[in-house]
């Protein structure tokens, strides 16, 4: 009886919650939420929870966000808390850091990574040395995990799906340290199943903890952000051939969860890392170096392999672009090579 009433109650609460937030969801309260909506939800909840939280960036207020990630927030919270800035990255990144130093909790949005580069001095020099909270950096063509992940004093998170997006941005806002949130704009419109716990206002994903998205026994595949989806696709294909991949979603770049990765490698004896960023001095390079330093090295039956973006500036033509980022076939190839099959 209790189970049935639980099933009935939850969808109703969801619907009323949805209506309050003015999202266009079906009356059946679908458990599918896009990454964009998950981020929006996360920010909305944190804005409501803590007076000190505010959002600033280009087009975040009246335009509802360049990618509509902040849709509805200005109407709800007004000018004081949702601030449109001029095109002045270095300036408003500095303003965000200063406001955080004075006790507020700003979410500073960069429209694209290029623009975050203009402000990188404020992020690295002003923020990493002072305790503050920062946030959202949408990726444009390249992955900045290695750049920001290099710096002590910063935390860097990299969400893949909607659940990651919401849980990590909420944790980032509540963290008393500067947190760079590497959103992948190609993921904004992708819907994912939203588990019940993710629908709670207190849903947080701990920073510094990876998630095993798929259990497996033959090989460990570690990834972050959009490539996690490609890894799961590759795993599905390989499963039909009798190869079971354990796919790990890093979720956090810094501090990295090496424990989860090591435990997995000690079980499967094989490792492939997958990332969108360039190969040199990247996330995969760091994972491999650390594997060698720890207990998992002796369990490797083959050298660890990295799958990365091509070592070129991002080209424009579609065929070139497609081949500059790791595709499912590249991941499958690397896995088979490692397993010698």
């Amino acid at each position: 009886m209790a189970a049935v009433s639980g099933l009935v109650r939850r969808p109703l609460r969801e619907v009323s919650g949805l209506l309050k937030r003015r999202f266009h969801w079906t009356a059946r309260a679908a458990l599918q939420v896009t990454v964009r909506d998950a981020i929006n939800q996360g920010m909305d909840e944190e804005l409501e929870r803590d007076e000190k939280v505010f959002l600033l960036g280009e087009e975040v207020a009246q335009y509802d966000g360049a990618y509509k990630v902040s849709r509805g927030l200005w109407k709800k919270y007004g000018d004081k808390r949702i601030i449109d800035t001029p095109i002045s990255e270095m300036g408003f990144a500095g303003i965000a850091v200063g406001a955080a130093m004075a006790g507020l909790r700003p979410i500073c949005e960069f429209m694209t990574f290029n623009f975050s580069m203009q402000a990188i001095d404020q992020v690295i020099n002003s923020a990493a040395k002072t305790y503050y909270m920062s946030g959202v950096a949408a990726q444009h063509s390249q992955c900045f995990a290695a750049w920001y992940g290099h710096c002590p004093g910063l935390k860097v998170v990299s969400p893949w799906n909607s659940e990651d997006a919401k849980g990590l941005i909420k944790s980032a806002i509540r963290d008393n340290n500067p947190v760079v949130v590497l959103e992948n704009e190609l993921m904004y419109g992708v819907p994912f199943e939203f588990p019940p716990e993710a629908q709670s206002k207190d849903f947080l994903i701990p920073i510094g903890k990876a998630k095993i998205e798929r259990q497996g026994t033959h090989i460990t595949v570690v990834s972050h952000s959009r490539p996690v989806g490609h890894c799961l696709e590759a795993a599905a294909v390989l499963s039909k051939e009798g190869v079971e991949c354990e796919v790990i979603n890093m979720r956090t770049i810094r501090p990295m969860d090496m424990e989860t990765i090591e435990a997995s490698v000690m079980k499967t004896n094989h490792l492939v890392t997958v990332e969108g960023g360039w190969p040199q001095f990247g996330v995969g390079a760091e994972i491999c170096a650390r594997i060698m330093e720890g207990p998992a090295f002796n369990f490797l039956d083959a050298p660890a392999v990295r799958v990365t973006g091509a070592d070129v500036p991002m080209p424009y033509a579609k065929i070139l672009e497609d081949n500059s980022i790791p595709q499912v076939k590249d991941i499958i190839f690397a896995i088979k090579k490692t397993l010698n099959i």
């Binding site: 505010f54 004081k80 601030i83 800035t85 001029p86 002045s88 270095m90 300036g91 408003f92 990144a93 500095g94 303003i95 965000a96 850091v97 200063g98 406001a99 955080a100 130093m101 004075a102 006790g103 507020l104 700003p106 001095d121 404020q122 020099n125 002003s126 040395k129 305790y131 002590p152 004093g153 935390k155 008393n176 340290n177 501090p255 330093e293």
Partner: protein
């Protein structure tokens, strides 16, 4: 007569360790306050400026004198300790070393006199004076310069990274502190407590693009930010004429009203600051102050300071415009204090600095185990890698 008796009784009822000479001094008939004329400020987009006369009380005068002498002596002591290699610089090629305010004392003491302790202040690397006026002790400052655990940043920050309540450093990247200051002003407005933020930068930094970005946003959003350009006429070795197409720094906020202030006169600085703070607190938005001042020494300890200007120029300023001398003359000539009394303050200050220097020299360095501390705030302890994978440090928040 009544005043004299009051003075005497004050002395007698006061601390018993006061010397006989002090009793003698106190029995003189000092004025309680005096009115002084101060230079009129040049104005930009302002109908009226700060007043051209001001009242200085004896109490305030003595306080300012003591503070300015303390800052000056503290910096001279730092200079000495540096030459003795007790204070180390980092790379002698970069700017980041030892940047003394000498003659900019009127700025830090005057600015502080014009605001409340609940207001906020941020500056660049020439920060020791402000660290003191914002409330830290000479001991903590000198011990930070000598890199000891008694330093205000436990020896981990050094010259350019000192902080106090409502004082945000101490910033090494030229110009970066200006958007930070605008952000602090945003927080002031957001919190609604009528606080203002003083955001300082030099004539060299004034050409940074991000400063203009900060001007724009501060004006757009009417942030209570007082932008203050400390113009000491040289950015390292480059004179203002060689660096700026317009050297009217008080006008370069364009749509932001500005005033140009005699930065060598502490009373001028005080009045201008009061004026600017009142302007901001009334909700009109930001305002810009240019403090005209001068730098006796070179840009840093490695710069003798004469390859790009003449000794005569330095001497001229030193003899005619020294801010401490200016205040002293005013006070003595208006009977606000006696020469002996001020000399006594000098002696006390010197002793305080000497004690602080002793402490700064004798205090131990921070322990090696704390190398990894304070990377994050409010986090549980974790491990930090050292030079190789076997060297690990603990990090606590």
């Amino acid at each position: 007569m009544r005043k004299m008796l009051a003075a005497v009784s004050r002395v007698l009822s006061g601390a018993s360790q006061k010397s006989a000479s002090r009793v003698l001094v106190a029995s003189r008939n000092f004025a309680n306050d005096a009115t002084f004329e101060i230079k009129k400020c040049d104005l930009h987009r302002l109908e009226e400026g700060p007043p051209v006369t001001t009242v200085l009380t004896r109490e305030d005068g003595l306080k300012y004198y003591r503070m300015m002498q303390t800052v000056r002596r503290m910096e001279l002591k730092a200079d000495q300790l540096y030459k003795q290699k007790i204070i180390r610089g980092f790379c002698h090629l970069c700017d980041g070393q030892f940047l003394l305010p000498l003659t900019q004392e009127a700025c830090c003491v005057g600015l502080e006199a014009g605001i409340n302790p609940t207001d906020h202040l941020i500056t660049a690397y020439r920060a020791h004076g402000f660290t003191f006026t914002r409330g830290l002790s000479v001991r903590e400052i000198l011990a930070e310069l000598t890199g000891r655990k008694g330093g205000c940043a436990k020896g981990k920050g050094g010259s350019m990274h000192m902080y106090a309540k409502n004082f945000y450093g101490g910033n090494g990247i030229v110009g970066a502190q200006v958007p930070l200051g605008a952000g602090i002003a945003l927080a002031c407005k957001y919190n609604g407590k009528d606080e203002v933020c003083l955001t300082l930068y030099g004539d060299g930094a004034a050409n940074q693009g991000q400063i203009f970005e900060a001007y724009n946003m501060a004006a757009l959003w009417k942030l209570p930010c007082i932008f203050i350009c400390e113009n000491n006429r040289y950015g390292m070795g480059t004179s203002v004429e060689r660096a700026a197409a317009s050297t009217d720094y008080y006008k370069r906020g364009d749509f932001i009203p500005g005033l140009r202030v005699d930065g060598m006169d502490i009373l001028c600085v005080r009045e201008a600051t009061r004026f600017a703070a009142a302007y901001c607190r009334s909700g009109k938005g930001p305002i810009l102050m240019e403090l005209q001042t001068y730098r006796y020494h070179g840009h840093s300890m490695s710069d003798p300071g004469v390859s790009y200007r003449t000794r005569e120029e330095i001497q001229e300023v030193r003899s005619k415009s020294d801010p401490i001398m200016l205040l002293k003359d005013r006070m003595v000539n208006s009977n606000l204090a006696s020469v002996e009394e001020l000399k006594e303050i000098d002696v006390e200050v010197r002793k305080e600095i000497e004690d602080a220097a002793q402490f700064a020299t004798a205090d131990p360095e921070p322990p090696l185990e704390e190398l990894g501390y304070h990377i994050y705030s409010s986090d549980p302890p974790f491990e930090v890698r050292g030079a190789n994978q076997w060297i690990k440090f603990k990090s606590v928040s």
